[in-house]
């Protein structure tokens, strides 16, 4: 353990070693292992898309693709924010309740003041929900798992109370409203919800990769104890993460409710689990520190495409569950086995040897 030579970064480097810094960097960034880690689920998505004509003749039509993109947006938007949380080593189980509550208040906002107020109410409600979660986790020191589990009940309950007299609904007479356009409009053939989702991924990417806060989020997820000694305040970043998730739910709810038009306390039961499943399927480690946005993005689309294919093949709903559950467990089992039997990082080291822990200093 006291050998002072840097490790070869990749299988390629064990051959005649790259000489210049650029070459080395290229070798590292393009090692097979790294490529798979970042783009793996995307590759699966591409393969599935390529195979889709064999599975369903209806799949590769413009209308159907638009439908898949439009439908995936609200899940994808929240999954982007959730990726931040999971990379930080936490998660938010209350997003389903938030989505129901925000949808209800958004429709109330619309009834009171039209599209502008609805959008404002959506984002504000989400922000408040996130701040409540954040306050519980930071000020009250409740573990995030339980805090957000409890708030899942509370948010849904509040939504139920607000819809005692029946679900909140967008009346049919509002069919021409700009509010409906949020969910329905296509710009250059691309559905607006998908464009909003792209913008959200852009924003989260910038936050994650180009800001100090983003770096701190990942650093903390990688090693909470080390992060403490790097001057990172867990409370500040946790608060921010929960508020970002809340805002993302607010935006997602806009793309959702402007398509679905009705909401009550039961809306999107189990949403939180679908979001976390997408993030994990995208390769983000639940232990924190590791993950990619592109993985989440592709996983969201993968689930959307898979779902669409299963539906259009007429697969029974009960089998659809089994298939989606198996996909999730398979992806994770592979990930689990990989980290269990191989050291992280390099593809070459993955195969022959069993994993051993790094020796204690």
């Amino acid at each position: 353990m006291t050998s002072d030579t840097a490790l070869p970064p990749a299988p390629g480097a064990q051959a005649p070693a790259p000489t210049t810094e650029t070459q080395r960097r290229w070798a590292r960034q393009h090692s097979i292992g790294t490529l798979w880690e970042t783009w793996g689920i995307t590759a699966v998505l591409v393969v599935l898309l390529a195979a889709s004509p064999l599975l369903s003749s209806d799949f590769l039509t413009v209308a159907n693709l638009q439908s898949v993109l439009r439908e995936s947006a609200y899940l994808g938007i929240v999954a982007a924010a959730m990726t931040l949380a999971v990379m930080n080593g936490t998660f938010d189980l209350s997003v389903g309740g938030q989505l129901a509550l925000v949808s209800v208040t958004t429709l109330m906002g619309y009834a009171a003041g039209g599209t502008g107020l609805a959008a404002l109410v959506a984002v504000l409600t989400g922000m408040v929900c996130g701040a409540v979660n954040g306050a519980l986790v930071t000020a009250m020191r409740v573990p995030p798992f339980v805090a957000t589990l409890g708030m899942l009940f509370v948010f849904r309950g509040v939504a139920y109370v607000l819809t005692q007299d029946g679900p909140k609904t967008l009346p049919y007479s509002e069919i021409g409203s700009p509010f409906v356009k949020i969910g329905g409009l296509n710009i250059a053939g691309i559905p607006l919800p998908f464009l909003i989702m792209l913008a959200c991924y852009g924003a989260v990417w910038v936050l994650l990769r180009r800001t100090a806060t983003g770096r701190r989020i990942v650093a903390f997820g990688s090693s909470p104890e080390a992060a403490r000694f790097c001057g990172i305040s867990v409370h500040r970043i946790r608060m921010l993460i929960f508020v970002v998730i809340g805002v993302s739910v607010g935006i997602a709810a806009l793309t959702y409710i402007s398509r679905v038009w009705t909401a009550d306390g039961s809306a999107q039961d189990g949403f939180e689990l679908r979001v976390i499943a997408a993030v994990v399927l995208g390769g983000t480690s639940l232990k924190g520190g590791k993950g990619t946005l592109i993985g989440t993005f592709s996983a969201v689309l993968l689930v959307g495409v898979l779902n669409d294919l299963l539906v259009s093949r007429g697969v029974d709903a009960s089998y659809q569950r089994v298939v989606l559950g198996c996909v999730l467990i398979t992806a994770l089992a592979i990930d689990g086995l990989r980290t269990r039997f191989a050291a992280p990082g390099s593809f070459a080291r993955m195969l022959p040897r069993r994993r051993r822990e790094a020796p204690a200093p």
């Binding site: 080593g89 936490t90 519980l136 009250m140 020191r141 409740v142 573990p143 995030p144 798992f145 339980v146 805090a147 589990l149 409890g150 708030m151 899942l152 009940f153 509370v154 849904r156 309950g157 509040v158 139920y160 109370v161 005692q164 909470p224 104890e225 403490r228 867990v234 306390g265 689990l273 976390i276 499943a277 994990v280 639940l286 232990k287 029974d316 709903a317 009960s318 089998y319 659809q320 569950r321 089994v322 989606l324 559950g325 198996c326 999730l328 467990i329 994770l332 089992a333 990930d335 689990g336 086995l337 980290t339 269990r340």
Partner: protein
């Protein structure tokens, strides 16, 4: 909040220790008593024998999987799949009864199915190294799908007195579910506080790496705990099917959260290491009292959700504040 026997055995004589133990369970006992008083005043029927029996039976039924879940959580893990197990067990048992098999055999087969789900969870978690949260989340979805596919959306309607006895029968005047719960609770108390297995479960929750280093059969214990939760979920399924006299793919939706909630409210730390059997029982009674009270007051279900959610948050805030060490604030579950 542990009810560890050795401490009690040695320190029961110490009045201070006894007092501090009493205070430890106060976060549960206080609201329980308060709610009971309020309900006694607000309704004239709360203290009736019928009503209290209802509360105890309902609490007992949820306590059985809750006690198994207590083991799982003491081990620092979760099982989210238990609601689906409820559905599948009931569906299999009732379908077998409808198919003309003896009810006893059908019930055993149902429990075996529950055990199989638990075994699947255990193997996925230990052998494939998947995080319990996600592994059991996936089995939640898969088992629900299997249950729906197995029943084909048709309820299996039975009228079996053997099955009925499980939920509605009485032994010396005591409702059967209460008997079952009492037996389970005694067994759970014994296992948690008195047996090697129980201590090993807490040891794994306390420090898994140390458990491995101490030569404990960690993977076997973890798998066993998942099987126990699976069987307990199966018993839950049998009791529900016994009450409703049917098996269905629709039953047990969201039950996993009920089971986890009573454990957590009962004071078993999500960080693992300690299990509170008495706490889980009290947690079950508390939740069911609230539900019953709100029903007696004709309150819409929305308020039931809110009150249970708030209770969960308050219980955990109290726990977190009592823990009070800044370093532990970093511990995430």
């Amino acid at each position: 909040m542990t009810t560890a026997a050795p401490e009690r055995a040695v320190r029961a004589a110490d009045p201070r220790a006894r007092l501090s133990r009493a205070i430890e369970n106060a976060p549960l006992a206080v609201p329980l008593v308060l709610i009971a008083v309020v309900l006694t005043v607000a309704t004239d029927r709360f203290l009736s024998v019928d009503n209290l029996t209802n509360v105890v039976v309902a609490a007992g039924i949820v306590a059985i999987p809750g006690l198994a879940m207590t083991l799982c959580i003491a081990m620092g893990e979760f099982d989210l799949s238990v609601g689906s197990t409820v559905s599948l067990t009931g569906a299999v048992t009732c379908t077998w009864i409808v198919g003309g098999h003896p009810a006893g055999l059908a019930m055993v087969v149902g429990l075996l199915v529950g055990a199989a789900v638990g075994l699947l969870n255990g193997l996925v978690v230990t052998k494939l190294g998947v995080t319990p949260f996600i592994a059991t989340l996936a089995t939640l979805v898969i088992v629900r799908g299997v249950s729906l596919a197995y029943t084909g959306g048709r309820d299996a309607i039975v009228s079996s007195s053997t099955l009925k006895f499980l939920a509605a029968g009485r032994v010396f005047g005591v409702p059967m579910p209460v008997v079952l719960t009492a037996v389970t609770a005694l067994a759970a108390w014994w296992v948690v506080n008195r047996t090697r297995f129980g201590r090993w479960v807490c040891a794994i929750g306390s420090n898994r790496e140390a458990a491995r280093m101490s030569g404990l059969p960690v993977d076997r214990i973890r798998t066993t705990v998942y099987v126990i939760v699976g069987v307990a979920g199966g018993i839950w399924g049998l009791l529900i099917s016994s009450q409703l006299q049917k098996g269905s793919g629709q039953l047990g939706l969201g039950f996993e959260l009920d089971a986890i909630t009573i454990v957590v409210i009962g004071g078993t730390s999500l960080l693992g290491g300690r299990a509170s059997v008495v706490g889980t029982l009290l947690g079950a009674v508390l939740i069911e009292t609230i539900r019953n009270g709100l029903n007696l007051l004709n309150t819409p279900p929305a308020y039931q959700r809110i009150s249970i959610g708030l209770l969960l948050v308050v219980a955990l805030t109290i726990q977190a504040l009592r823990r009070n060490a800044p370093a532990e604030a970093l511990d995430d579950v």
